[in-house]
């Protein structure tokens, strides 16, 4: 990783097309301005993390893991019963 020290008002250039400006520095946070062409998406890293976790979550959860999770959340003792998409019956309620 390249590490650069910058002050408020200074900038970093990435190639010819991307500029990152340090606009404001406050205790614990920094305000950045990004200049980039439209075709280069600029995202907060949390968006990427959420995309990755969403894609992983969409793979589904094995029935026995889900049943185990429900038992733990309810504070019940382990028992052999599976309930999950696939194993579950008709959904009954729509909030």
């Amino acid at each position: 990783m390249l590490i650069v020290r910058r002050r408020a008002g200074q900038a970093v250039l990435i190639g010819d097309l991307v500029e990152i400006h340090v606009l404001e520095i406050a205790p614990g946070r920094v305000k950045l301005g990004v200049v980039a062409p439209r075709e280069i998406p600029v995202l907060r890293a949390e968006v990427k993390l959420t995309r990755e976790t969403n894609l992983a979550a969409a793979q589904g959860v094995p029935a026995e893991k889900l049943a185990e999770l429900v038992r733990r959340l309810r504070g019940e003792a382990p028992r052999r019963r599976a309930a999950a998409p696939g194993a579950a019956g008709e959904p009954s309620e729509q909030p």
Binding site: R29, R44, E46, V47, L49, T50, R51, E52, T53, N54, L55, A56, A57, A58, G60, V61, P62, K65, L66, A67, E68, L69, V70, R72, L73, R74, A83, A84, P85, G86, A88, G89, E90, P91, S92, E93, Q94, P95
Partner: protein, 164 residues
Amino acid sequence: MQFCTRHFGTIEYDPEAVFEFPAGLPGFEDQHRFLALRQPNIEPIVFLQSLDRPDLCFITLPVQTIEPGYRLAISAEDLRLLGLPEDRQPEMGRQVLCLAIVAVAEGRPPTANLLAPVVLNLENRRAVQAILSDSPYSHRHPLPGGGEEDTVCSSCGAGPARRS
């Protein structure tokens, strides 16, 4: 209305129960319509079933069941998408339902994304996965089920127990 899902078979639903995600969800930007489904036998889990993709169903938990003191910090942009006033956070439970998407990976404890709750506006049925700004929460918040929270006492071998 009827919809054929992969996990639940054909389900009957009220069109008024559909939640509209104007921006989709990160990774699923083209998915705009979901149903929130509950089943008494596996409360408190809420399934978020896509009405565009029969095989897409997220497993979620209301955030308060994971973190009772959960605090929302929805961005102005997301509040606008939800059709809510931008000057204050909505009231969880009454105005909005906040669900954390659960992921279970092999060999790891299940986790929930508390950093980016799915916020459902119960009044106008609009919804968004709100990536909270300045949030103390993780996108991989560990859930019970990994076995760590009830490991036995290493010195005496006793599990969590009450003194008699």
